[in-house]
C-alpha cells in the first residue's frame, strides 16, 4: 500500500520525469491492483503515458521471461493513444507465443499493416485467439475477408461463430441484404442461425 501511495505521489510531483521508470515498476509489481495503476495513468493522461508504455513494452518483448510484464503493460496500454501503441501490439502478436497475450494484443490493433498476422490468428488453435482476431477483422478488415469470416461461421465454438457474424456486419460493402444472401446460401444450420441472430440484432439497433 505504501509503495502504491509513493508512486502516486511521484506522479503528482513530476509525472514526465518519473513515468519512464515508474511504468517499468508498474509492470513488475504484480501486487499493485491493475485497476489502481490504470486509474493513476488515466489521471496523467495519454499524451504523457504513451511513449513510456511503448518503450517499456518493447523492452519487455526483448527480455527473457518478460511475458508477465507484457501482459500487465498491455492492460496499461488502455490508457495510451491507441493508434500509437497499435504497432507494438502487432509486434507482440507476431513474436509472442502465449495465446492469452496474443488475444490481449490483438485487441489493441488498429493498424491495417497488421492484417496479415490478424488473418493468421483467425485460424489459431485457441478459440479465444480466433474470436479476438475476428473482432479485429471486423474493425480493420476489408471485403476480401468475407470468405474467411463466412467459413468461420461454422466454427466449433459458439463465440467464434458469433464474432464472425458480428464482424461480417461491420465489414465495408456488406449490407444486410448481402448478408441475407450469404445466410440463405449456408448449408450449416448453426452458421445460418448465428448469422440470423446477428442480423436481427443489427436491425434492432
Amino acid at each position: 500500500m505504501l509503495s502504491l501511495l509513493a508512486a502516486r505521489a511521484l506522479l503528482d510531483i513530476d509525472a514526465p520525469a518519473t513515468l519512464a521508470w515508474l511504468v517499468t515498476v508498474m509492470a513488475a509489481r504484480d501486487d499493485w491492483p491493475m485497476s489502481r495503476v490504470v486509474s493513476m495513468l488515466r489521471e496523467v493522461g495519454p499524451d504523457a503515458v504513451t511513449l513510456p508504455l511503448i518503450s517499456a513494452a518493447e523492452a519487455a518483448i526483448r527480455a527473457e521471461g518478460g511475458e508477465e510484464q507484457v501482459s500487465r503493460l498491455l492492460r496499461m496500454m488502455d490508457t495510451a493513444h491507441i493508434e500509437r501503441v497499435s504497432p507494438v501490439a502487432v509486434k507482440i502478436a507476431r513474436e509472442i507465443r502465449n495465446p492469452e497475450l496474443i488475444a490481449a494484443s490483438l485487441r489493441m490493433i488498429r493498424d491495417p499493416r497488421g492484417l496479415d498476422i490478424v488473418r493468421a490468428h483467425a485460424r489459431h488453435e485457441s478459440w479465444f485467439v480466433r474470436a479476438s482476431a475476428i473482432q479485429v477483422l471486423g474493425r480493420i478488415g476489408d471485403s476480401s475477408d468475407v470468405a474467411l469470416l463466412t467459413k468461420l461461421l461454422s466454427d466449433s465454438h459458439w463465440w467464434v461463430r458469433y464474432r464472425s457474424a458480428r464482424a461480417l456486419l461491420t465489414l465495408p460493402d456488406t449490407p444486410i441484404a448481402r448478408l441475407e444472401q450469404i445466410r440463405n446460401a449456408l448449408e450449416d444450420r448453426f452458421a445460418a442461425d448465428i448469422l440470423g441472430q446477428a442480423i436481427a440484432e443489427a436491425r434492432q439497433i
Partner: protein, 313 residues
C-alpha cells in the same frame, strides 16, 4: 436405558453440538483476522483514484423468476437503471403459472428474438427467447419449469459476458451495486465470486424500480419470522483455503461469479444447486485446477453490494 438416561444423553448431545458449532465459528473468525487486517489496510488507498475506471468487466445479470407477477416489473426496472458501463439483464421465466410472462411482455414490449441458443448446459426445454424493444440489454427466456438452478443454467447458456450475477426476481439492487460488487475482481484477478448484503424492502417505497423512501415494515409475526433469514449480515472472506466460501448464507440471493470452465460441470452435477452449492462447487473445481496446473489460489470476496429483498410478508 431408562427415560432419565435418554434425556441425559440427549442433553449431552445438544450441549456438545452447541460447543462444536461455536468452536467452529470462533476458529473461522480467527482464521479471517489476517484478511480483515488487509481489508482495513486497503482503506489507505481510498484517497487514490478509484479502482472503478472504465476497466470493469461486462456483467450478465441473471434473474430466475417463478410466479413473481407482483414484483417482477419493479425488480427488472431497477436492473435497467444500474450505474454500470456494460451489462445485460436476462430474466428467466421458469414456467411460471401466474401472469409473470404477461407482465414482462406488457411492461417491456417484448418481441420474439431469433437467438442461436447455445446449450452449454442441459436445461429444461426453452419455449422462446424475447428481446425488449424498449431496453436493448434486456432479454427474457421463457422455459419449462425446472427449478432455480435449472433457470440459472438457462441464463448462463444465454449470457454473453465473462461475469454473471445471480439475483432473485423479488429483489431490487441499488444503482451502484454492480460497481461495488465488481471491485474485488478489479483489485485481485484471482477473485472468482463476490456477494452482498440483503436488506428488507418491506415498508420501503419503490417507484419505477427506484427506492424512493426507506421506512420500517409493519411488524407482524410473519415479518419477525422472515427477518431472521433476511436480516442484514456481514461477512469476511477466508481466502486461499477452499474450505468455506466467505459468502454468507444470507448473501446468497445475489452474487457475482466468474464464468469458469468448471461451472458447467458443477451445475450439472449439483442439479439442486443454489448459490451456496454453486460456489462450493466452483471452489472445489478451482482447487482441483490449482492442484493440476499449478495456478495460484482463487479468492472469494465479500463486496459492498446491497440488495433489497421483498420478504413475502
Amino acid at each position: 436405558m431408562t427415560v432419565y438416561g435418554w434425556i441425559e444423553a440427549a442433553q449431552w448431545f445438544f450441549f456438545l453440538y452447541f460447543i462444536g458449532i461455536n468452536m467452529g465459528y470462533v476458529m473461522l473468525n480467527l482464521l479471517s483476522l489476517r484478511t480483515v487486517k488487509r481489508y482495513v489496510e486497503s482503506h489507505s488507498l481510498d484517497d487514490m483514484p478509484r479502482g472503478i475506471s472504465g476497466f470493469e468487466m461486462p456483467v450478465s445479470v441473471l434473474m430466475p423468476a417463478y410466479n413473481e407477477e407482483a414484483t417482477i416489473t419493479s425488480s427488472v426496472l431497477s436492473m435497467m437503471q444500474l450505474d454500470y458501463p456494460e451489462y445485460e439483464v436476462i430474466v428467466i421465466n421458469d414456467g411460471s403459472r401466474d401472469g409473470t410472462m404477461d407482465a414482462l411482455r406488457r411492461e417491456f414490449d417484448l418481441e420474439p428474438f431469433p437467438e442461436a441458443y447455445w446449450q452449454r448446459l442441459a436445461v429444461m426445454p426453452v419455449r422462446a427467447i424475447y428481446r425488449s424493444k424498449l431496453y436493448p440489454m434486456l432479454r427474457v427466456i421463457d422455459k419449462e419449469n425446472g427449478g432455480k438452478a435449472d433457470a440459472l443454467n438457462a441464463g448462463i447458456n444465454a449470457s454473453r459476458f465473462p461475469l454473471f450475477c445471480g439475483v432473485d426476481a423479488d429483489s431490487i439492487l441499488e444503482r451502484v451495486s454492480l460497481r461495488r460488487v465488481v471491485e474485488p475482481f478489479l483489485e485481485d484477478p484471482s477473485t472468482i465470486a463476490s456477494g452482498g448484503t440483503v436488506r428488507i424492502a418491506n415498508g420501503c417505497t419503490v417507484d419505477s424500480g427506484f427506492l424512493t423512501r426507506v421506512d420500517c415494515p409493519v411488524i407482524s409475526w410473519r415479518f419477525c419470522k422472515s427477518s431472521s433469514t433476511c436480516a442484514p449480515s456481514s461477512s469476511v472472506d477466508w481466502d486461499g483455503r477452499h474450505s468455506m466460501p466467505s459468502l454468507s448464507y444470507r448473501a446468497r440471493s445475489a452474487f457475482l461469479g466468474r464464468m469458469l470452465w468448471c461451472v458447467p460441470v458443477v451445475i450439472e452435477r449439483i442439479p439442486w444447486a443454489r448459490t451456496w452449492n454453486l460456489l462450493s462447487g466452483c471452489i472445489a473445481y478451482t482447487a482441483l485446477e490449482t492442484y493440476l496446473i499449478g495456478l495460484y489460489l482463487y479468492r472469494i470476496r465479500f463486496a459492498g453490494l446491497r440488495l433489497l429483498k421483498h420478504c413475502g410478508c
